[in-house]
Symmetry: C2
Subunit: 331 residues, 2 copies
């Protein structure tokens, strides 16, 4: 039999386990020109929450009573397609199914010799690409500048901070536990860390950690942490809006202090970033990331949850900050 | 005697006439290498409000009990400087004085034969340059796109809208009286106008006037009009934060709906713009504006108030929307 995870309800506020439903069906068979894939590693990501809304966005919303999809590393267990052979591993946007068939369209082969399979969902996948390409396009980091990162121990944030160090920046990270702060400094080489959960005055804490102000703020969270960063932004500062996890589960329109005064006065650049719009740059960007990885300039942390049945819980745990680094489910 | 206008108090909220003080002193004499200037046209601009705060910004705050300064066209009435001769007209950041001396530094000669003197404070001055250069850098208008402009009948806004038409855009303006709307359409060639004072639902009004959404929003006002524009912004939309006149006189931190969700979802670019950072481009930009002016593709409106003694009131009237186009005081 083949297990499948459907989206059963559109979550209201924080997603719940019963928004998902496990279905069983016959194990599929590869048709003519097709391959049969066995899921090995499933990526769970905060942005999936957006696709659970019935709302036009940059990707189509998930349909109710159909499988959720995300980045998955799969093994080819049958092949009727000359471009793929049994035993190959591929990376692509695939459905939350133990087994599925594919024509191979949109799948990229990955080499388990060059890096661990799960790394292709993280530092060498969309998360690493998000960090690298957004910093190239919007961050435009200069040697000696100050880079502030929220969600700093997470998959994207930790890569952003390390690239900041490679570029010669003063790098300050914001996270929600002292353990994460330690990880940021000891493993990822951040200069300073701020625990937003134990800090009353984030504006002041950022000012102290960034004595020359903030040149680039990489924002994974939005909300009050963004407010505090904006109060410390330098002239010609850049803000990369990569995520707004603090808002994703809100059911009312969140309010906050208006930024337009600061935008004008400090000539700030603020820009939303979606890595999918930059597919043409994936090749050279992955090459650079792999090079840094091999040179030991870049490292990564991952939280690997085991078992297909734990995919929904792993997704929910993202919103409780239970992951360190990239959250991946191993099947 | 020589009349001078000092900043007497830092305004709280809306500036008042008694925040300014008229002083008389001896008429100055041009020293060695200096010129004596007689003010002819004085520019009053919303951004001056910012300099009245005791707060670090992109330019130094005005000092109390010292003259206010702004863009001024002056006639040279005495010259001990070989670079300038009596009867020449110059443009520069000068003090609110009937007469003042200068070494000539930072002054540019203007030709009264090529355009009216006051145009050098408007369409051929910082206001026209603001419109042109910000659209080049941030707006990046493409033929067929929709450009929305607030403060649309004002000096900058009316030029922005006309450049939008030159670039082949659908141009929609927002202003506060039906008379201004008529001006926008009849004189400046905007496609549609929205009177924000008589419109209950700005989000809906923008949606109707911009059936294909908003690609570029040029914001002079901030606040709720920016909110409504953001609710209609297209994917990869650009927002030029040129001013936030709706906030300048606020004494508390203004609150509004958070934008970070839209920024991410629609990959919006939002950027503050200050024309002073682009001085290197003034030459070619002025040339292009003058060309369009001579070709009849660009026109301008100005409100000319007469009399040195009316400078403070003319400044205050900016916040009541009493000007059509560039507000200038003729001495």
């Amino acid at each position: 039999m083949n297990r499948i995870i459907h989206l059963k309800n559109r979550p209201e506020g924080t997603p719940q386990l019963d928004d998902f439903e496990f279905i069983e069906e016959e194990k599929p068979v590869a048709g003519d020109g097709e391959i049969l894939l066995k899921s090995k590693f499933v990526s769970v990501d905060p942005y999936l929450r957006g696709r659970m809304r019935d709302q036009k966005s940059y990707v189509e919303p998930f349909r109710l009573n159909e499988p959720v999809e995300s980045g998955i590393i799969a093994e080819i267990v049958e092949s009727n397609n000359d471009n793929f052979k049994k035993g190959d591993f591929v990376n692509g946007m695939l459905q939350w199914k133990e087994f599925q068939t594919s024509t191979g369209k949109g799948l990229n082969k990955v080499d388990p010799e060059k890096a661990s399979l799960s790394a292709y969902l993280g530092v060498l996948g969309l998360t690493g690409l998000t960090a690298y390409i957004s910093l190239e396009h919007i961050g435009n980091l200069k040697n000696g500048e100050t880079l502030l990162v929220s969600g700093a121990s997470g998959a994207v944030g930790s890569t952003v901070g390390q690239i900041g160090k490679i570029k010669g920046c003063h790098v300050v990270g914001i996270a929600g536990t002292d353990e994460k702060l330690k990880l940021m400094k000891d493993t990822f080489g951040f200069d300073k860390g701020i625990n937003y959960k134990t800090t009353d005055d984030m504006k002041k804490a950022i000012a102290e950690a960034c004595p020359e102000g903030v040149d680039v703020y990489f924002d994974n969270v939005g909300g009050e942490i963004l407010d505090a960063a904006m109060q410390n932004i330098n002239e010609n500062g850049r803000v990369i809006n990569c995520g707004a996890i603090s808002l994703y589960n809100k059911t009312e329109v969140p309010m906050g202090p208006r930024y337009e005064g600061i935008m004008v006065k400090k000539t700030v650049l603020m820009q939303g970033f979606l890595v999918r719009q930059h597919a043409k740059e994936f090749g050279p960007a992955t090459k650079q990331l792999a090079e840094w990885l091999n040179e030991g300039k870049l490292t990564y942390e991952e939280t690997i949850v085991e078992g297909f049945e734990n995919i929904p819980q792993a997704f929910l745990d993202l919103f409780n900050g239970k992951n360190k680094g990239k959250m991946v489910v191993k099947i």
